[in-house]
Symmetry: C2
Subunit: 418 residues, 2 copies
């Protein structure tokens, strides 16, 4: 079949789900087009380390073009999707381009959910994109600078207060990383303040941290964070976020730096398709990941809402990868005239790191915490980075941080819209 007459598969989003779908189509008699508004694939699980000056953005990002360079049937389009023409079967880009498709995989990921308060985003940024991470890094580092520059005790206290909203893995990792930054990396760098005096508060709405983990590991994480000087507040509702801090149902938390790690909501894929979505905006899919009523259209990863046996598929990287591969296989089955198969999610486990020598791992039967879990967490993350270059860069910088307690990427660059 000549390349130009091959069925066209358009994949929107080059995260874990979209990239694995594209790769699973390597060698197949299809034309694959991967669209993303960024030119790089991002390893989001380590983004919190960019936000806390431990790693560089490029250490955990790869140009999508390079990743698909050797896949002859794939091309990469840098562009922002503005809509989808269901009937004409075209993806619309904001610059007016149109990408016709025979099959469509929506792997657009998630964004933050401010529970109806989008105005909180300006003061309490979340952590999904590289630009979020460099913005948070800038704010965290500037807070210490402003505390050092101020002669006023009240200002200093406020600048040295950090509130992280949301006690899931991202919130726990951010709180632990900021605590280590303040108490170790920065501790001898200032003359008028002691960065170790920083107040770091982790606010969680539920009754325990890491709700997706077994309670014993939640308790461990709570104790480990407390030992590191993080103040954990459970069962707290956030009523408002503003320049001066957070209002909770238990009173105000004055702080100059707020970080949002609470809710996520899906990208607008369901709106583009005008199909049913759950409360978080995720597309309701059939058990084979196809979108009901739209033949040849699939949604994967954080874009899709799917429960298997009453258990929702979690919004983590391995689940997105498996879903991407499954969608690719269904496209190939459809082309071969074979019936589709239901998606079977294999859960390998949950991991979260808290700080030096402290992490939790839940592999079902195997549950680990402490130093060994921390070591395994590091090895797993290095393993899943793509390519020797990034493994060495991340591994090398971790080794240096471990030995010196330092953070290498302490740049206050760019400007802040705030």
């Amino acid at each position: 079949m000549a390349p130009e007459t091959r069925p066209r598969v358009v994949i929107v989003g080059a995260g874990f789900g979209g990239l694995s779908a594209a790769r699973a189509l390597a060698g197949a008699a299809v034309q694959v087009t991967v669209v993303d508004r960024r030119n790089f694939h991002l390893f989001q699980p380590l983004l919190y380390q960019v936000a806390t000056a431990g790693l560089n953005p490029a250490d955990i990002a790869w140009p999508i073009r390079s990743l698909l360079r050797d896949q002859a049937n794939a091309e990469v389009v840098l562009g922002e999707v503005s809509g989808i023409e269901r009937t004409a079967r075209e993806v619309l880009l904001s610059d007016g381009r149109r990408l016709p498709y025979d099959y469509l995989v929506l792997a657009t990921g998630a964004t933050h959910n401010y529970f109806g308060h989008p105005e909180w985003e300006a003061v309490a940024p979340g952590l999904k994109r590289v630009d979020d991470a460099t913005l948070i890094r800038r704010r965290v580092l500037l807070a210490f600078e402003r505390a050092e520059a101020s002669g006023d005790a009240e200002t200093r206290r406020r600048q040295l207060s950090f509130v992280i909203i949301g006690g899931g893995p991202t919130g726990v990792e951010m709180a632990g990383a900021i605590a280590e930054l303040a108490r170790k990396a920065l501790c001898r760098d200032f003359r008028h303040i002691n960065p170790g005096d920083a107040r770091i508060v982790l606010v969680e709405g539920g009754p325990r941290l890491l709700g997706s983990f077994p309670p014993a590991l939640s308790d461990y994480a709570h104790r480990a964070l407390t030992r590191m000087g993080v103040e954990v507040q459970l069962d707290r509702r956030v009523l408002a976020c503003h320049e001066a801090g957070v209002e909770t149902d238990a009173g105000p938390l004055p702080a100059a730096t707020l970080i949002w790690a609470a809710g996520i909501s899906a990208s607008p894929a369901a709106r583009w398709l005008v199909v049913a979505a759950d409360r978080a905006g995720r597309v309701q899919v059939e058990d084979d990941l196809s979108v009901p009523g739209l033949p040849g259209v699939y949604a994967v990863g954080d874009t899709a809402a799917l429960s298997i046996g009453g258990q929702p598929v979690p919004g983590i990287a391995p689940a997105a990868k498996q879903a991407g591969e499954h969608a690719a296989r269904q496209i190939l089955r459809s082309l071969a005239g074979a019936p589709s198969q239901p998606f079977r999610y294999r859960h390998h486990g949950n991991l979260a790191t808290i700080g030096r020598h402290a992490a939790v791992i839940d592999f079902g039967r195997l549950r680990l915490r402490g130093g060994l879990a921390w070591l395994l967490w590091g090895l797993v993350h290095i393993y899943f980075l793509i390519g020797a270059r990034n493994r060495l860069l991340v591994g090398g910088q971790w080794l240096f941080s471990y030995l010196t307690f330092g953070r290498g990427a302490r740049l206050i660059a760019g400007s802040d819209p705030r």
Copy 2:
């Protein structure tokens, strides 16, 4: 002497000159305050590699606070200087703070000079700061993306055209690095364009490239760039820079990406002091680097205009370092009641790299070009990086780029004011 009664030395700028002045005062009975508007010291000689996606900003930057952490008599102030009160002997910061001084070292460096056309900066950014480098990286990478996305031959040609204005070391290095990016790193990543078709033009106003080097090395650089596919235009005057390209006295050069490597002018230190400056805005200093009529005030590096034996001291890192140390020594002599000494600049040599296996080195009697010069250039630059972490990160990334022809930091992040 109690610390608070010690003479106060304020150093404005933590580049090569300011940092070496601060370090030369370690252990002395003075209070040192280093002011910079950025929180990091930047190794500017490698900034062009950030602009061409070879290195990360943090690989060539260090937090000033960390560098001076162990120097008990030094403190670091993050702030923008807005002026100097000569009579009250105070440095004014834009946020209203005032830093009183007994001695003042101005090491504020240089910025770009658009020869009376500041409006050119928006379309033809220079390369002095980290934000310049990430902006240029963004524009260079986006140009290839826009060429790939466009179906119009004219647009493609314009997007694949790059003009570098100024044939000194920075211009030569940028032209060579963009040529390698286009012809090697990106060559297999696109489907509709051949990045190797890129037109890269280096425009120089004088009769040869690298005017500060011996003519034989200029010729070599010219030939090496030509071999790499760079179009070198000598004796060309730039009449205008705009969105569509450059106008020269020999006709227009249509191009989407312009980079300014032509003129530099000093920071506003001379205006702050209301003292005599040369045409580039540099403070006219005495032979001991002091500013005439202002006892205890010194200017070093690109802030100062000084000729020794009719030869101007060049605006390179080693000269700034030596001047910073000299100013520090004069402060100590002044405190000891000793007369000041003239600055003696020891010129070690000039280096510039062109591309893989191609560089020029002029050590006076020893002149090198080609592969050996290129190797030496790399070793010298690794050697002058501060600390094992950055040496390993830069060295490791160079090794990977060398072996794979790839560039690791190909991120299009942030936004562009243009």
